[in-house]
């Protein structure tokens, strides 16, 4: 089903003047658009390395981030497998690892947390999707700074090497949790990882730099390079969300960058910024960390909700309910997220009166987030819902995230947090938010944009099998963890047998249930990988607009060539969600299709 052939006649001015289409038809790379001048002038086949590792094409960079993120997700998945086995079957020799020592255990949980947030959620949701989608969805040929974009990925890749190196050094990988609280993280005599700790911190800091560069690129691109005719409220929601998230990231990460420098000095040259015995203050780190750490939750949440907005509109053939409200709630959430950080520190030794203020702001932030979910649910009303694989994932996001959202209320309410703080209730709560964000929405995105990225359709049957094989075990991991949290299981403990109150009948069984569900969930990911790579090579060929969607990326060939729009850069005439418009026979209306009259 080819899209809007009638719109192809309307070449925008700037496309004609530079003949972008001509340039991009000849080969996928290496034409004048490639900023890398040294190789750009040749017309022979680019070698593999230059094409896939030295490209400045936003699509290639997006895929670099995507594949790197997937690889890191395997690392994150493996680590959780090892330490969950230890929790369920203490002292067992874990297949593929061996016996888990306490030091191993701490290293594994720290790696799991930091990898999943910094090297999976961030690169996939922001960098991969942002890079791939932004230029396509706003109708331009690339990011405004292609070389900066490449540099951003390269710094990101180095950060992974540094993190990897931290496993090989003396003392092993850092085990002070992803929050890295000093004095534990500051002194080798406490954490026993003299080189692992600074390397971990350096890796995180490099990752921040990579995303700062990427974020500047995203924001500038969307502000300046939208297709002619694309007004503020014509921008697809996912693009808005990535931009707001990038700004949130930029505004929140600064203090932590400064904090990281201070902590790195404490670790390596012997300063005492966070050493209470020498005039420093360990709580300061917590403030710097969570001033970033809480907005960071929304940095990854917002792109995920953007993905959901794109997908539920397409597959319910509905206009997004109250576009502007979604946008305002996103901005409102972003602003409020700067005033809630200390809810992570209610019992950390801050002035207890401060908890009142932060408890209040925390409950307030539930309002815009809840409203966003209401909007998505309202969008379904009156729709013509098709339960394709991407739609299943998008709906699952709403259903599961709701649980994550409401359980957050228990923790934001300071009085209840006294009991729940640092228990498995917290773990279950944030996995009910982070798993939908980092995996459910990403699976939605990958299955939805796969035809565009690779020009092939994914297999629906395997897709559905993978969906149910992920969603069902997911709930069976974390519902037991909620129950364990209620019964007092505290976090980051490698063996509960020393705590008689935590070995009452039923509790070890719940731990085993969670672990077995996890193993099941991990096993089902093989189906996804199989489906992904099988479809990549052998899948049915995809049309340019297989889902009959409105946004610009679907109005160009799949996969789009270098330069994105071979027929000329598009001009935009309407918003992205004009589905089932009463004046039209077709139930969709591409953004770049000129009105008939």
């Amino acid at each position: 089903m080819s899209s809007n052939s009638e719109s192809l006649g309307h070449l925008p001015i700037d496309a004609m003047s530079t003949a972008a289409g001509e340039a991009t038809k000849t080969d996928t790379h290496g034409h004048s658009h490639d900023a890398h001048g040294g190789h750009g002038e040749h017309h022979e086949e680019q070698n593999f390395f230059l094409k896939y590792f030295w490209s400045t094409d936003h699509k290639i960079i997006g895929m670099q981030y995507l594949f790197t993120g997937m690889l890191m997700a395997l690392v994150g998945g493996f680590t959780v497998y090892v330490f969950r086995m230890q929790i369920a079957f203490p002292g067992i020799s874990v297949p593929g690892w061996g016996r888990v020592t306490p030091a191993n255990y701490d290293g594994l949980i720290t790696t799991h947390g930091s990898v999943m947030i910094f090297w999976v959620a961030m690169p996939v949701l922001i960098a991969a999707l942002g890079n791939y989608l932004i230029p396509l969805m706003i109708g331009c040929d690339d990011m405004v700074f292609p070389r900066l974009n490449r540099l951003s990925y390269q710094i990101f890749a180095i950060s992974i090497l540094v993190l990897g190196a931290s496993f090989l050094v003396k003392g092993g990988a850092f085990g002070g949790a992803w929050t890295s609280y000093p004095p534990l993280s500051a002194k080798a005599e406490y954490n026993l990882t003299p080189q692992g700790a600074p390397l971990w911190l350096l890796a995180v800091a490099l990752e921040f730099v990579a995303f700062l560069l990427g974020g500047i690129n995203f924001v500038t691109t969307v502000m300046n390079s939208r297709a002619p005719g694309m007004k503020m409220f014509d921008v697809p929601m996912v693009v808005w969300m990535i931009v707001i998230a990038s700004i949130l990231f930029m505004a929140s990460v600064g203090p932590l960058v400064a904090g990281a420098v201070m902590l790195l000095f404490d670790q390596t040259v012997g300063t005492h910024f966070f050493d209470p015995n020498k005039g420093g203050d360990p709580i300061l780190w917590q403030h710097l960390f969570w001033f970033f750490g809480h907005p960071e939750v929304y940095v990854v949440l917002l792109p995920a909700t953007g993905i959901v907005a794109e997908i539920i509109t397409v597959f319910s053939r509905k206009k997004l309910f109250a576009y502007k409200t979604v946008l305002y709630t996103a901005v409102g959430t972003g602003v409020l997220s700067f005033f809630v950080w200390a809810h992570h520190q209610f019992i950390a030794g801050i002035d207890p009166r401060m908890a009142n203020i932060f408890s209040l702001t925390t409950l307030l932030i539930s309002i815009p987030v809840a409203e966003m979910m209401f909007v998505f649910i309202a969008t379904l009303y009156g729709g013509s819902i098709r339960l394709t694989v991407p739609m299943l994932w998008a709906l699952a996001f709403i259903g599961e995230f709701l649980i994550g959202g409401v359980t957050g209320i228990f923790l934001g309410a300071s009085g209840a947090d006294i009991y729940f703080h640092d228990t498995y209730f917290v773990i279950a709560h944030f996995h009910y938010t982070f798993f939908p964000i980092a995996f459910i929405s990403v699976f939605a995105a990958v299955t939805y944009w796969f035809p565009k990225m690779f020009g092939k359709m994914m297999n629906e049957t395997f897709g559905k099998l993978h969906f149910w094989g992920t969603i069902i075990p997911f709930n069976f991991i974390f519902i037991p963890l909620f129950l364990l949290g209620v019964r007092g299981d505290h976090r980051r403990i490698f063996d509960y047998s020393r705590f008689p109150d935590l070995m009452k009948p039923g509790m070890p069984e719940l731990r085993v249930l969670a672990t077995l569900s996890l193993v099941t969930l991990l096993a089902f990911q093989a189906i996804f990988l199989l489906n992904f790579f099988y479809s990549l090579f052998k899948g049915k060929k995809a049309d340019r607009n297989p889902w009959l969607a409105n946004t610009l990326e679907w109005q160009t060939p799949s996969p789009p060539p270098h330069g994105n729009f071979p027929e000329g850069l598009p001009t935009v005439y309407r918003g992205p969600y004009e589905y089932s418009h009463p004046d039209r026979a077709q139930d969709y209306w591409p953004q770049n299709e000129k009105a008939a009259s």
């Binding site: 500047i216 390079s225 930029m250 400064a258 005492h272």
Partner: protein, 190 residues
């Protein structure tokens, strides 16, 4: 280098390069903001740090403030020349700005040498840790600004990429502004 069409668009009316510089500055403000905020919190809790800060050289700091402000003036003159398409003149003014940066670093080096000889090092106590970290981070920005400026000046002298003269100028003003905050906080407050 031929840019993507994306780079040449200006939906906001602000050229892309300048827009990006503003975002760079926004992200830098929060980095310095976090560091200085942390310093202020500590400083308020430790009045005894005044006995440490008396050892900083206020005269040298004041001189450096003057040097940086003067160099910023030349950055403005460079921008003005670039506006008039006079690349050679712009390059010349940029070089003078760079010279200002170099003077600043030399004075800083002399100060630090003296202070370290007196035994005030990065690890002496938390005041000195902040002193060296904040000024050091600022110094790195001065060096980075100078390096970029040399490249911009080289291009400008050939009449190329003149819009970058303004962009590096904006960045230089920012570096200058950070110092205006550092100077009273680290030197004058005694």
């Amino acid at each position: 280098m031929i840019r993507p069409i994306a780079t040449t668009r200006e939906a906001t009316g602000i050229p892309t390069g300048r827009l990006a510089v503003w975002w760079v500055i926004a992200s830098e403000i929060v980095i310095f903001g976090g560091l200085l905020g942390s310093y202020l919190m500590h400083r308020l809790g430790h009045p005894e740090w005044a006995y440490q800060s008396v050892h900083t050289n206020t005269a040298a700091g004041a001189f450096n403030t003057f040097v940086l402000l003067t160099s910023s003036l030349f950055a403005v003159l460079a921008h003005d020349a670039a506006e008039h398409k006079d690349g050679k003149k712009a390059a010349k003014y940029l070089m003078i700005t760079c010279l200002g940066g170099l003077t600043f670093l030399c004075v800083k080096g002399a100060e630090w040498t003296h202070e370290i000889r007196e035994g005030f090092t990065l690890t002496s106590n938390t005041f000195w840790s902040f002193y060296y970290t904040a000024a050091g981070l600022h110094g790195i920005h001065v060096i980075a600004g100078m390096i970029i400026m040399l490249f911009v000046a080289a291009d400008a002298a050939k009449g190329k990429e003149l819009q970058r003269v303004e962009n590096i100028g904006i960045y230089w003003h920012f570096v200058d502004l950070v110092w205006i905050f550092l100077f009273p906080l680290l030197y004058i407050a005694k």
